[in-house]
Amino acid sequence: MAGSVWIICETQGESLAPLALELAAAARRIGGPVVAVGCGGAFSRAAAELGAHGVATLVEVGGCEGHLQGGLIAAAVVEAISQLGTPVAILAGQTYTGRDALAHLSVLLSAPVLGSAVNVSVDGDTVVAENVIFGGERVVSSAVEAGKVALIGVRAKSFSPDPVAEPISPAVVTVTASPDAPAYRSRVVSSRSEEHAGPKLDEAAVVVAGGRGLGAQENYAAVEELSGLLGGAPGASRAIVDAGWVPYAYQVGQTGKTVKPDVYIAIGISGATQHMVGMKGSKAIIAINKDPEAPIFRIADLGVVGDAQKILPRLIEAIKRRR
Protein backbone atom coordinates (compact mmCIF):
# COMPACT_ATOMS: atom_id res chain seq x y z
CA MET A 1 0.00 0.00 0.00
CA ALA A 2 1.32 3.44 -0.85
CA GLY A 3 1.98 5.71 2.10
CA SER A 4 4.12 5.75 5.18
CA VAL A 5 3.47 3.58 8.23
CA TRP A 6 4.47 4.94 11.62
CA ILE A 7 5.35 2.95 14.69
CA ILE A 8 5.40 4.17 18.28
CA CYS A 9 8.44 2.76 20.03
CA GLU A 10 8.83 2.35 23.77
CA THR A 11 12.08 1.84 25.64
CA GLN A 12 13.04 -0.30 28.62
CA GLY A 13 15.85 1.30 30.57
CA GLU A 14 18.70 1.80 28.14
CA SER A 15 17.30 -0.27 25.28
CA LEU A 16 14.44 -0.41 22.87
CA ALA A 17 11.50 -2.53 24.09
CA PRO A 18 11.47 -5.77 22.04
CA LEU A 19 8.02 -4.89 20.72
CA ALA A 20 9.50 -1.99 18.72
CA LEU A 21 11.18 -4.34 16.25
CA GLU A 22 8.01 -6.45 16.04
CA LEU A 23 6.10 -3.29 15.13
CA ALA A 24 8.68 -2.49 12.43
CA ALA A 25 8.05 -5.95 10.91
CA ALA A 26 4.27 -5.45 11.10
CA ALA A 27 4.52 -1.99 9.52
CA ARG A 28 6.32 -3.40 6.48
CA ARG A 29 3.39 -5.75 5.86
CA ILE A 30 1.22 -2.67 5.34
CA GLY A 31 3.51 -0.42 3.34
CA GLY A 32 6.30 2.02 3.76
CA PRO A 33 8.47 3.90 4.34
CA VAL A 34 8.45 3.16 8.06
CA VAL A 35 8.70 6.09 10.49
CA ALA A 36 9.54 5.37 14.15
CA VAL A 37 8.39 7.75 16.90
CA GLY A 38 9.77 7.68 20.44
CA CYS A 39 10.96 9.54 23.51
CA GLY A 40 14.33 9.94 25.14
CA GLY A 41 17.98 9.09 24.66
CA ALA A 42 17.55 5.31 24.56
CA PHE A 43 15.25 5.72 21.57
CA SER A 44 17.62 8.07 19.74
CA ARG A 45 20.53 5.72 20.33
CA ALA A 46 18.58 2.86 18.75
CA ALA A 47 18.65 4.55 15.32
CA ALA A 48 20.99 1.96 13.77
CA GLU A 49 19.01 -0.95 15.19
CA LEU A 50 15.77 0.50 13.85
CA GLY A 51 17.41 1.18 10.48
CA ALA A 52 18.48 -2.46 10.33
CA HIS A 53 14.78 -3.33 10.65
CA GLY A 54 13.66 -1.08 7.84
CA VAL A 55 12.95 2.20 9.62
CA ALA A 56 13.65 5.12 7.29
CA THR A 57 12.96 8.05 9.62
CA LEU A 58 13.17 8.61 13.35
CA VAL A 59 10.84 11.16 14.94
CA GLU A 60 12.36 12.11 18.27
CA VAL A 61 9.83 13.59 20.66
CA GLY A 62 11.33 16.35 22.80
CA GLY A 63 10.32 17.17 26.37
CA CYS A 64 8.88 13.78 27.41
CA GLU A 65 10.78 13.69 30.68
CA GLY A 66 8.53 13.85 33.73
CA HIS A 67 5.20 13.43 31.92
CA LEU A 68 3.05 10.51 30.82
CA GLN A 69 4.40 9.64 27.39
CA GLY A 70 1.31 8.34 25.58
CA GLY A 71 -0.51 11.66 25.34
CA LEU A 72 2.67 13.58 24.59
CA ILE A 73 3.72 11.24 21.81
CA ALA A 74 0.27 11.56 20.27
CA ALA A 75 0.42 15.34 20.34
CA ALA A 76 3.93 15.23 18.88
CA VAL A 77 2.78 12.90 16.10
CA VAL A 78 0.26 15.54 15.04
CA GLU A 79 3.11 18.06 14.78
CA ALA A 80 5.24 15.58 12.86
CA ILE A 81 2.41 14.87 10.43
CA SER A 82 2.35 18.54 9.48
CA GLN A 83 6.00 18.18 8.44
CA LEU A 84 6.09 14.65 7.00
CA GLY A 85 2.55 14.08 5.70
CA THR A 86 -0.23 11.80 6.90
CA PRO A 87 0.57 8.09 7.28
CA VAL A 88 -1.80 5.29 6.24
CA ALA A 89 -1.38 3.58 9.59
CA ILE A 90 0.14 4.16 13.02
CA LEU A 91 1.02 1.08 15.06
CA ALA A 92 1.71 0.92 18.78
CA GLY A 93 2.04 -1.93 21.23
CA GLN A 94 -1.06 -3.06 23.12
CA THR A 95 0.73 -1.74 26.22
CA TYR A 96 -0.14 0.98 28.73
CA THR A 97 1.70 3.75 26.96
CA GLY A 98 0.76 2.34 23.55
CA ARG A 99 -2.92 2.35 24.38
CA ASP A 100 -2.72 5.87 25.79
CA ALA A 101 -1.00 7.10 22.64
CA LEU A 102 -3.54 5.45 20.33
CA ALA A 103 -6.48 6.76 22.36
CA HIS A 104 -5.18 10.32 22.12
CA LEU A 105 -4.36 9.94 18.43
CA SER A 106 -7.84 8.64 17.81
CA VAL A 107 -9.30 11.91 19.08
CA LEU A 108 -6.67 14.13 17.46
CA LEU A 109 -6.96 12.43 14.04
CA SER A 110 -10.64 11.46 14.37
CA ALA A 111 -9.84 7.85 13.54
CA PRO A 112 -10.79 4.53 15.15
CA VAL A 113 -8.45 2.29 17.14
CA LEU A 114 -8.21 -1.38 16.19
CA GLY A 115 -6.94 -2.95 19.40
CA SER A 116 -5.29 -6.23 20.37
CA ALA A 117 -4.20 -6.95 16.80
CA VAL A 118 -2.37 -10.19 16.16
CA ASN A 119 -2.11 -9.68 12.40
CA VAL A 120 -2.33 -6.83 9.90
CA SER A 121 -2.90 -6.79 6.14
CA VAL A 122 -4.05 -4.58 3.31
CA ASP A 123 -7.26 -5.11 1.37
CA GLY A 124 -7.52 -2.72 -1.58
CA ASP A 125 -7.23 0.72 -0.05
CA THR A 126 -8.04 -0.25 3.52
CA VAL A 127 -5.93 -1.59 6.34
CA VAL A 128 -7.27 -4.70 8.05
CA ALA A 129 -6.34 -5.90 11.53
CA GLU A 130 -7.13 -9.24 13.11
CA ASN A 131 -7.76 -9.74 16.79
CA VAL A 132 -8.76 -12.79 18.74
CA ILE A 133 -11.84 -12.98 20.95
CA PHE A 134 -13.36 -15.51 23.31
CA GLY A 135 -9.93 -16.44 24.65
CA GLY A 136 -8.47 -17.07 21.24
CA GLU A 137 -11.20 -19.27 19.81
CA ARG A 138 -12.32 -16.85 17.12
CA VAL A 139 -10.44 -14.38 14.94
CA VAL A 140 -12.20 -11.15 13.99
CA SER A 141 -11.03 -8.96 11.09
CA SER A 142 -11.77 -5.25 11.23
CA ALA A 143 -11.18 -2.61 8.60
CA VAL A 144 -10.83 1.12 8.90
CA GLU A 145 -13.09 3.24 6.71
CA ALA A 146 -11.22 4.60 3.67
CA GLY A 147 -9.61 7.96 4.23
CA LYS A 148 -9.01 7.42 7.95
CA VAL A 149 -5.62 6.68 9.46
CA ALA A 150 -5.56 3.10 10.78
CA LEU A 151 -4.56 3.20 14.45
CA ILE A 152 -3.61 -0.29 15.51
CA GLY A 153 -2.65 -1.69 18.91
CA VAL A 154 -0.48 -4.75 18.33
CA ARG A 155 -0.19 -7.54 20.87
CA ALA A 156 3.35 -8.48 21.84
CA LYS A 157 4.85 -11.51 20.08
CA SER A 158 2.41 -11.42 17.20
CA PHE A 159 5.23 -10.63 14.75
CA SER A 160 8.85 -11.71 14.65
CA PRO A 161 11.54 -9.07 14.21
CA ASP A 162 12.58 -9.12 10.56
CA PRO A 163 15.87 -7.39 9.70
CA VAL A 164 16.10 -5.96 6.19
CA ALA A 165 18.73 -7.10 3.70
CA GLU A 166 20.08 -3.58 3.35
CA PRO A 167 20.05 -1.60 6.58
CA ILE A 168 18.93 2.00 6.32
CA SER A 169 20.63 4.93 7.96
CA PRO A 170 17.52 6.72 9.21
CA ALA A 171 16.89 10.42 8.83
CA VAL A 172 16.16 12.09 12.17
CA VAL A 173 13.46 14.68 12.82
CA THR A 174 12.88 16.25 16.23
CA VAL A 175 9.40 17.42 17.20
CA THR A 176 7.80 18.71 20.38
CA ALA A 177 4.17 18.44 21.36
CA SER A 178 2.13 21.60 21.30
CA PRO A 179 2.50 23.39 24.67
CA ASP A 180 -1.21 23.04 25.42
CA ALA A 181 -1.18 19.23 25.21
CA PRO A 182 -3.00 18.08 28.37
CA ALA A 183 -0.35 15.42 28.95
CA TYR A 184 2.05 18.18 30.06
CA ARG A 185 -0.24 18.61 33.06
CA SER A 186 0.51 15.05 34.21
CA ARG A 187 3.60 14.71 36.38
CA VAL A 188 5.46 11.43 36.78
CA VAL A 189 6.91 11.78 40.26
CA SER A 190 8.70 8.45 40.59
CA SER A 191 8.81 5.01 39.06
CA ARG A 192 9.60 1.62 40.50
CA SER A 193 10.36 -1.78 38.98
CA GLU A 194 8.78 -4.85 40.55
CA GLU A 195 10.24 -7.38 38.18
CA HIS A 196 11.62 -10.62 39.41
CA ALA A 197 15.38 -11.05 39.23
CA GLY A 198 16.35 -13.48 36.47
CA PRO A 199 14.91 -13.82 32.98
CA LYS A 200 12.08 -11.46 32.07
CA LEU A 201 8.62 -12.99 32.12
CA ASP A 202 7.94 -12.25 28.46
CA GLU A 203 11.37 -13.43 27.30
CA ALA A 204 11.97 -16.51 29.46
CA ALA A 205 12.17 -19.98 27.88
CA VAL A 206 10.28 -21.44 30.83
CA VAL A 207 7.36 -19.84 32.68
CA VAL A 208 5.93 -21.36 35.84
CA ALA A 209 2.67 -19.64 36.69
CA GLY A 210 0.51 -19.96 39.77
CA GLY A 211 -3.17 -19.24 40.33
CA ARG A 212 -5.76 -19.20 43.04
CA GLY A 213 -5.50 -23.00 43.30
CA LEU A 214 -2.24 -22.50 45.22
CA GLY A 215 -4.52 -21.83 48.18
CA ALA A 216 -2.44 -19.20 49.96
CA GLN A 217 0.14 -16.52 49.26
CA GLU A 218 2.95 -18.41 51.01
CA ASN A 219 2.56 -21.33 48.60
CA TYR A 220 3.71 -19.09 45.77
CA ALA A 221 7.28 -19.58 47.05
CA ALA A 222 7.18 -23.09 45.54
CA VAL A 223 6.27 -21.61 42.14
CA GLU A 224 9.30 -19.32 42.40
CA GLU A 225 11.52 -22.18 43.47
CA LEU A 226 10.42 -24.36 40.55
CA SER A 227 10.85 -21.57 38.03
CA GLY A 228 14.30 -20.89 39.46
CA LEU A 229 15.28 -24.56 39.12
CA LEU A 230 14.19 -24.52 35.48
CA GLY A 231 15.93 -21.21 34.73
CA GLY A 232 12.57 -19.62 34.03
CA ALA A 233 10.40 -16.77 35.22
CA PRO A 234 7.47 -16.99 37.64
CA GLY A 235 4.09 -15.80 36.40
CA ALA A 236 0.58 -15.50 37.78
CA SER A 237 -3.10 -15.36 37.00
CA ARG A 238 -4.91 -12.13 37.62
CA ALA A 239 -6.82 -13.64 40.53
CA ILE A 240 -3.69 -13.77 42.68
CA VAL A 241 -2.41 -10.42 41.42
CA ASP A 242 -5.70 -8.80 42.45
CA ALA A 243 -5.46 -10.62 45.77
CA GLY A 244 -2.09 -8.96 46.30
CA TRP A 245 -0.06 -12.19 46.47
CA VAL A 246 2.33 -11.07 43.74
CA PRO A 247 2.98 -7.77 41.92
CA TYR A 248 1.15 -6.94 38.76
CA ALA A 249 4.32 -7.34 36.67
CA TYR A 250 3.85 -11.12 37.09
CA GLN A 251 0.43 -11.26 35.42
CA VAL A 252 -0.04 -13.29 32.27
CA GLY A 253 -3.06 -12.72 30.05
CA GLN A 254 -5.18 -10.25 28.23
CA THR A 255 -4.40 -7.44 30.63
CA GLY A 256 -0.98 -8.76 31.55
CA LYS A 257 1.99 -10.09 29.63
CA THR A 258 1.85 -12.25 26.52
CA VAL A 259 4.30 -15.11 26.86
CA LYS A 260 5.44 -17.73 24.36
CA PRO A 261 8.00 -19.83 26.23
CA ASP A 262 9.20 -23.32 25.29
CA VAL A 263 7.11 -24.58 28.17
CA TYR A 264 4.42 -22.95 30.30
CA ILE A 265 3.55 -24.70 33.54
CA ALA A 266 0.15 -23.59 34.88
CA ILE A 267 -0.41 -24.51 38.51
CA GLY A 268 -3.84 -24.05 40.08
CA ILE A 269 -5.00 -21.90 37.16
CA SER A 270 -8.47 -22.58 35.77
CA GLY A 271 -7.78 -21.37 32.25
CA ALA A 272 -10.13 -18.38 31.91
CA THR A 273 -10.23 -17.07 28.36
CA GLN A 274 -8.51 -13.86 29.49
CA HIS A 275 -5.65 -15.89 30.89
CA MET A 276 -5.34 -18.19 27.91
CA VAL A 277 -4.92 -15.40 25.32
CA GLY A 278 -1.68 -14.54 27.08
CA MET A 279 -0.13 -18.01 27.03
CA LYS A 280 -1.72 -20.25 24.44
CA GLY A 281 1.09 -19.49 22.02
CA SER A 282 3.52 -21.37 24.28
CA LYS A 283 5.33 -24.24 22.55
CA ALA A 284 4.30 -26.71 25.24
CA ILE A 285 1.84 -26.38 28.11
CA ILE A 286 1.75 -28.41 31.33
CA ALA A 287 -1.22 -27.92 33.67
CA ILE A 288 -1.72 -29.06 37.22
CA ASN A 289 -5.29 -28.66 38.48
CA LYS A 290 -7.45 -30.67 40.81
CA ASP A 291 -10.55 -30.21 38.67
CA PRO A 292 -10.57 -32.59 35.66
CA GLU A 293 -13.03 -30.24 33.93
CA ALA A 294 -10.77 -27.17 34.21
CA PRO A 295 -10.64 -25.41 30.80
CA ILE A 296 -6.84 -25.24 30.94
CA PHE A 297 -6.73 -28.98 30.19
CA ARG A 298 -8.25 -28.30 26.78
CA ILE A 299 -5.03 -26.67 25.64
CA ALA A 300 -2.49 -28.51 27.79
CA ASP A 301 -0.05 -30.97 26.22
CA LEU A 302 0.34 -32.65 29.58
CA GLY A 303 -2.43 -32.32 32.15
CA VAL A 304 -2.14 -33.55 35.70
CA VAL A 305 -5.34 -33.86 37.71
CA GLY A 306 -4.26 -33.49 41.30
CA ASP A 307 -3.49 -31.31 44.28
CA ALA A 308 -0.85 -28.70 43.48
CA GLN A 309 0.20 -28.45 47.09
CA LYS A 310 1.14 -32.13 47.07
CA ILE A 311 2.61 -32.34 43.58
CA LEU A 312 4.74 -29.19 43.67
CA PRO A 313 7.07 -30.27 46.50
CA ARG A 314 7.52 -33.69 44.91
CA LEU A 315 8.28 -32.14 41.53
CA ILE A 316 10.82 -29.77 43.06
CA GLU A 317 12.50 -32.71 44.83
CA ALA A 318 12.53 -34.82 41.66
CA ILE A 319 14.22 -32.04 39.69
CA LYS A 320 16.76 -31.43 42.47
CA ARG A 321 17.59 -35.15 42.57
CA ARG A 322 18.54 -35.06 38.91
CA ARG A 323 21.35 -32.62 39.55
Binding site: Q12, L68, G71, T95, Y96, D100, L102, A103, H104, S106, V107, L108, S110, P112, V113, G115, G136, V139, V140, S142, A143, V144, G153, P182, A183, R185, S186, V188, V189, S190, S191, R192, V241, D242, A243, P247, Y248, A249, Q254, T255, D262, V263, K280, K283, A284, I285, I286, F297, R298, A300, D301, L302, G303, V304, V305, D307, K310, R314, E317, A318
Partner: protein, 252 residues
Protein backbone atom coordinates in the same frame (compact mmCIF):
# COMPACT_ATOMS: atom_id res chain seq x y z
CA UNK B 1 -17.18 18.90 43.78
CA UNK B 2 -18.73 16.41 41.42
CA UNK B 3 -17.21 13.11 40.34
CA UNK B 4 -18.42 11.06 37.39
CA UNK B 5 -18.06 7.30 37.39
CA UNK B 6 -18.36 5.82 33.90
CA UNK B 7 -20.33 2.60 33.90
CA UNK B 8 -20.90 0.07 31.16
CA UNK B 9 -23.86 -2.25 31.39
CA UNK B 10 -23.17 -5.61 29.82
CA UNK B 11 -24.80 -9.02 29.53
CA UNK B 12 -24.14 -11.27 32.48
CA UNK B 13 -20.71 -12.75 31.73
CA UNK B 14 -21.68 -16.02 33.35
CA UNK B 15 -23.91 -16.60 30.31
CA UNK B 16 -22.14 -17.93 27.19
CA UNK B 17 -21.04 -15.26 24.70
CA UNK B 18 -21.92 -15.26 21.02
CA UNK B 19 -21.62 -13.17 17.89
CA UNK B 20 -24.65 -12.21 15.85
CA UNK B 21 -24.15 -14.01 12.51
CA UNK B 22 -25.42 -11.05 10.46
CA UNK B 23 -23.93 -8.01 12.14
CA UNK B 24 -20.84 -9.84 13.52
CA UNK B 25 -21.35 -7.92 16.73
CA UNK B 26 -21.47 -9.32 20.24
CA UNK B 27 -25.00 -10.35 21.07
CA UNK B 28 -26.00 -7.99 23.86
CA UNK B 29 -29.33 -9.46 24.83
CA UNK B 30 -30.67 -10.88 28.05
CA UNK B 31 -30.19 -9.59 31.54
CA UNK B 32 -27.83 -6.64 31.80
CA UNK B 33 -25.62 -5.98 34.80
CA UNK B 34 -22.95 -3.47 35.76
CA UNK B 35 -19.64 -4.49 34.24
CA UNK B 36 -17.70 -5.97 37.12
CA UNK B 37 -14.65 -3.84 36.14
CA UNK B 38 -16.73 -0.70 36.62
CA UNK B 39 -17.71 -1.59 40.16
CA UNK B 40 -14.08 -0.75 41.02
CA UNK B 41 -14.43 2.68 39.41
CA UNK B 42 -17.67 3.33 41.27
CA UNK B 43 -16.11 2.25 44.57
CA UNK B 44 -12.99 4.37 43.98
CA UNK B 45 -15.22 7.38 43.18
CA UNK B 46 -17.33 6.85 46.28
CA UNK B 47 -14.24 6.66 48.48
CA UNK B 48 -12.97 9.98 47.15
CA UNK B 49 -16.44 11.51 47.42
CA UNK B 50 -16.81 10.42 51.03
CA UNK B 51 -13.51 12.02 51.95
CA UNK B 52 -14.19 15.29 50.15
CA UNK B 53 -17.94 15.51 50.74
CA UNK B 54 -18.36 15.36 46.98
CA UNK B 55 -21.09 13.73 44.94
CA UNK B 56 -20.84 10.88 42.44
CA UNK B 57 -22.85 10.82 39.21
CA UNK B 58 -22.94 7.79 36.97
CA UNK B 59 -22.72 8.17 33.21
CA UNK B 60 -23.56 5.22 30.99
CA UNK B 61 -24.19 4.64 27.30
CA UNK B 62 -26.55 1.73 26.86
CA UNK B 63 -29.01 0.18 24.45
CA UNK B 64 -32.76 0.49 25.08
CA UNK B 65 -32.53 2.91 27.99
CA UNK B 66 -31.11 0.11 30.09
CA UNK B 67 -30.69 1.10 33.73
CA UNK B 68 -30.34 -2.18 35.66
CA UNK B 69 -26.56 -1.89 35.99
CA UNK B 70 -26.74 1.83 36.69
CA UNK B 71 -29.14 1.13 39.57
CA UNK B 72 -26.45 -1.07 41.12
CA UNK B 73 -24.07 1.92 41.11
CA UNK B 74 -26.81 4.10 42.62
CA UNK B 75 -27.44 1.45 45.26
CA UNK B 76 -23.72 1.50 46.09
CA UNK B 77 -24.03 5.23 46.81
CA UNK B 78 -23.92 7.29 43.63
CA UNK B 79 -26.38 10.19 43.73
CA UNK B 80 -27.68 10.39 40.17
CA UNK B 81 -27.17 9.04 36.68
CA UNK B 82 -27.26 9.93 33.01
CA UNK B 83 -28.01 7.14 30.55
CA UNK B 84 -27.55 7.82 26.84
CA UNK B 85 -29.52 5.51 24.57
CA UNK B 86 -30.06 5.74 20.86
CA UNK B 87 -30.74 3.17 18.15
CA UNK B 88 -28.02 4.87 16.10
CA UNK B 89 -25.47 3.83 18.74
CA UNK B 90 -25.75 0.13 17.91
CA UNK B 91 -22.28 -0.81 16.73
CA UNK B 92 -20.67 2.33 18.15
CA UNK B 93 -16.89 2.09 18.22
CA UNK B 94 -14.71 3.26 21.10
CA UNK B 95 -14.31 6.78 19.71
CA UNK B 96 -18.06 7.35 19.28
CA UNK B 97 -18.62 5.90 22.74
CA UNK B 98 -16.06 8.30 24.15
CA UNK B 99 -17.71 11.25 22.37
CA UNK B 100 -21.03 10.36 23.93
CA UNK B 101 -19.57 9.89 27.39
CA UNK B 102 -17.50 13.09 27.23
CA UNK B 103 -20.53 15.14 26.16
CA UNK B 104 -22.54 13.72 29.04
CA UNK B 105 -19.70 14.44 31.48
CA UNK B 106 -19.69 18.09 30.38
CA UNK B 107 -23.38 18.34 31.33
CA UNK B 108 -22.63 17.22 34.88
CA UNK B 109 -19.96 19.85 35.52
CA UNK B 110 -17.70 17.18 37.04
CA UNK B 111 -14.00 17.80 37.67
CA UNK B 112 -12.99 14.18 38.05
CA UNK B 113 -13.98 11.25 35.86
CA UNK B 114 -13.24 7.72 37.02
CA UNK B 115 -13.49 4.72 34.70
CA UNK B 116 -12.36 1.12 34.57
CA UNK B 117 -9.28 0.46 32.47
CA UNK B 118 -11.31 -1.60 30.01
CA UNK B 119 -14.65 -3.33 29.73
CA UNK B 120 -15.04 -7.02 30.35
CA UNK B 121 -16.81 -7.78 27.09
CA UNK B 122 -15.12 -5.46 24.62
CA UNK B 123 -11.76 -4.59 26.15
CA UNK B 124 -10.53 -2.00 23.69
CA UNK B 125 -8.99 -0.26 26.67
CA UNK B 126 -8.88 3.18 25.07
CA UNK B 127 -12.16 4.83 26.13
CA UNK B 128 -10.91 6.56 29.32
CA UNK B 129 -8.00 8.25 27.55
CA UNK B 130 -10.24 9.12 24.59
CA UNK B 131 -12.71 10.78 26.97
CA UNK B 132 -9.81 12.70 28.54
CA UNK B 133 -8.49 13.81 25.16
CA UNK B 134 -11.96 14.98 24.12
CA UNK B 135 -12.34 16.97 27.34
CA UNK B 136 -8.78 18.31 27.03
CA UNK B 137 -7.93 16.91 30.48
CA UNK B 138 -4.91 14.83 31.48
CA UNK B 139 -5.52 11.07 31.43
CA UNK B 140 -4.10 9.26 34.46
CA UNK B 141 -4.55 5.70 33.27
CA UNK B 142 -4.16 2.21 34.75
CA UNK B 143 -4.24 3.32 38.39
CA UNK B 144 -3.91 0.66 41.04
CA UNK B 145 -4.31 3.35 43.70
CA UNK B 146 -5.92 6.78 43.60
CA UNK B 147 -6.01 9.67 46.04
CA UNK B 148 -7.41 13.16 45.72
CA UNK B 149 -6.66 16.09 47.94
CA UNK B 150 -6.40 19.83 47.59
CA UNK B 151 -7.41 19.71 43.95
CA UNK B 152 -4.63 17.27 43.05
CA UNK B 153 -5.18 13.67 42.03
CA UNK B 154 -2.34 11.21 42.67
CA UNK B 155 -2.22 7.66 41.37
CA UNK B 156 0.06 4.67 41.31
CA UNK B 157 0.05 3.74 37.65
CA UNK B 158 0.87 0.27 36.45
CA UNK B 159 3.76 0.01 34.03
CA UNK B 160 5.13 -2.96 32.12
CA UNK B 161 7.63 -3.72 34.87
CA UNK B 162 6.20 -2.14 38.03
CA UNK B 163 4.45 1.14 38.78
CA UNK B 164 4.98 4.87 38.72
CA UNK B 165 3.53 7.66 40.83
CA UNK B 166 1.74 10.23 38.71
CA UNK B 167 -0.17 13.34 39.68
CA UNK B 168 -2.16 16.12 38.04
CA UNK B 169 -4.32 19.05 39.06
CA UNK B 170 -8.04 18.56 38.51
CA UNK B 171 -9.86 18.33 36.19
CA UNK B 172 -8.61 14.91 35.16
CA UNK B 173 -9.70 11.46 34.04
CA UNK B 174 -8.48 8.42 35.98
CA UNK B 175 -8.85 4.78 34.97
CA UNK B 176 -8.60 2.25 37.78
CA UNK B 177 -7.70 -1.42 37.62
CA UNK B 178 -9.61 -4.27 39.20
CA UNK B 179 -8.10 -4.91 42.60
CA UNK B 180 -7.48 -1.20 43.24
CA UNK B 181 -10.28 -1.15 45.84
CA UNK B 182 -12.80 -3.63 47.21
CA UNK B 183 -16.24 -2.77 45.78
CA UNK B 184 -18.91 -2.58 48.47
CA UNK B 185 -22.09 -4.61 48.23
CA UNK B 186 -25.19 -2.44 48.00
CA UNK B 187 -27.05 -2.46 51.32
CA UNK B 188 -30.77 -3.14 51.45
CA UNK B 189 -31.29 0.53 52.24
CA UNK B 190 -29.10 1.46 49.30
CA UNK B 191 -31.08 -0.74 46.94
CA UNK B 192 -34.38 0.72 48.08
CA UNK B 193 -33.03 4.28 47.92
CA UNK B 194 -31.65 3.76 44.40
CA UNK B 195 -35.17 3.37 43.06
CA UNK B 196 -35.87 7.03 43.76
CA UNK B 197 -32.59 8.53 42.61
CA UNK B 198 -32.74 10.65 39.44
CA UNK B 199 -31.79 8.96 36.18
CA UNK B 200 -31.75 11.28 33.18
CA UNK B 201 -32.32 9.57 29.83
CA UNK B 202 -30.71 11.27 26.82
CA UNK B 203 -30.45 10.64 23.08
CA UNK B 204 -27.67 11.51 20.62
CA UNK B 205 -29.74 14.48 19.51
CA UNK B 206 -29.77 15.84 23.07
CA UNK B 207 -25.98 15.76 23.03
CA UNK B 208 -25.65 17.09 19.49
CA UNK B 209 -23.53 14.17 18.32
CA UNK B 210 -23.65 12.44 14.92
CA UNK B 211 -23.33 8.66 14.95
CA UNK B 212 -20.18 8.32 12.89
CA UNK B 213 -18.27 5.03 13.08
CA UNK B 214 -14.84 4.67 11.49
CA UNK B 215 -14.38 0.93 11.50
CA UNK B 216 -16.29 -2.19 10.52
CA UNK B 217 -15.96 -5.89 11.12
CA UNK B 218 -15.22 -7.62 7.84
CA UNK B 219 -15.04 -11.25 8.88
CA UNK B 220 -14.89 -13.81 11.64
CA UNK B 221 -13.27 -17.21 11.56
CA UNK B 222 -12.28 -19.93 13.97
CA UNK B 223 -8.73 -19.71 15.25
CA UNK B 224 -6.47 -22.67 14.72
CA UNK B 225 -7.38 -24.84 17.67
CA UNK B 226 -4.70 -26.06 19.99
CA UNK B 227 -5.21 -29.76 20.47
CA UNK B 228 -5.47 -31.08 23.99
CA UNK B 229 -2.78 -33.55 24.97
CA UNK B 230 -2.76 -36.19 27.58
CA UNK B 231 -4.60 -35.71 30.87
CA UNK B 232 -3.97 -38.12 33.72
CA UNK B 233 -4.77 -38.39 37.39
CA UNK B 234 -1.97 -38.02 39.92
CA UNK B 235 -1.38 -41.39 41.57
CA UNK B 236 1.44 -40.09 43.73
CA UNK B 237 4.06 -40.13 40.99
CA UNK B 238 2.92 -37.34 38.67
CA UNK B 239 6.29 -35.64 39.12
CA UNK B 240 7.99 -38.47 37.19
CA UNK B 241 5.74 -37.94 34.18
CA UNK B 242 6.34 -34.19 34.32
CA UNK B 243 10.12 -34.65 34.52
CA UNK B 244 10.00 -37.09 31.58
CA UNK B 245 7.96 -34.58 29.58
CA UNK B 246 10.44 -31.79 30.34
CA UNK B 247 13.29 -34.08 29.29
CA UNK B 248 11.42 -34.92 26.09
CA UNK B 249 11.28 -31.25 25.11
CA UNK B 250 14.88 -30.71 26.29
CA UNK B 251 14.00 -28.26 29.04
CA UNK B 252 15.71 -30.67 31.44
Amino acid sequence: MKIVALVKQIPDQAAPQALDPDSLRLVRAGKMIIDDSDSYGVEASLQVAEKLAAEVSVVSMAPNQETAGVRTALAMGAASAIVVSDDQLAGADALLTARVLAAAVVRTGAELVVAATESTDGYTGTVPAQVAALLGWPALTFAKEMQVDGGTVRIKRQTEDGFEEVEAELPAVVSVTAGSVVPRYPSFKGIMGAKNKPVELLTLGDLGIAAEVGERVTGVRDAEARAAGEVFEDDGSAEERIVAFLEGIKVL
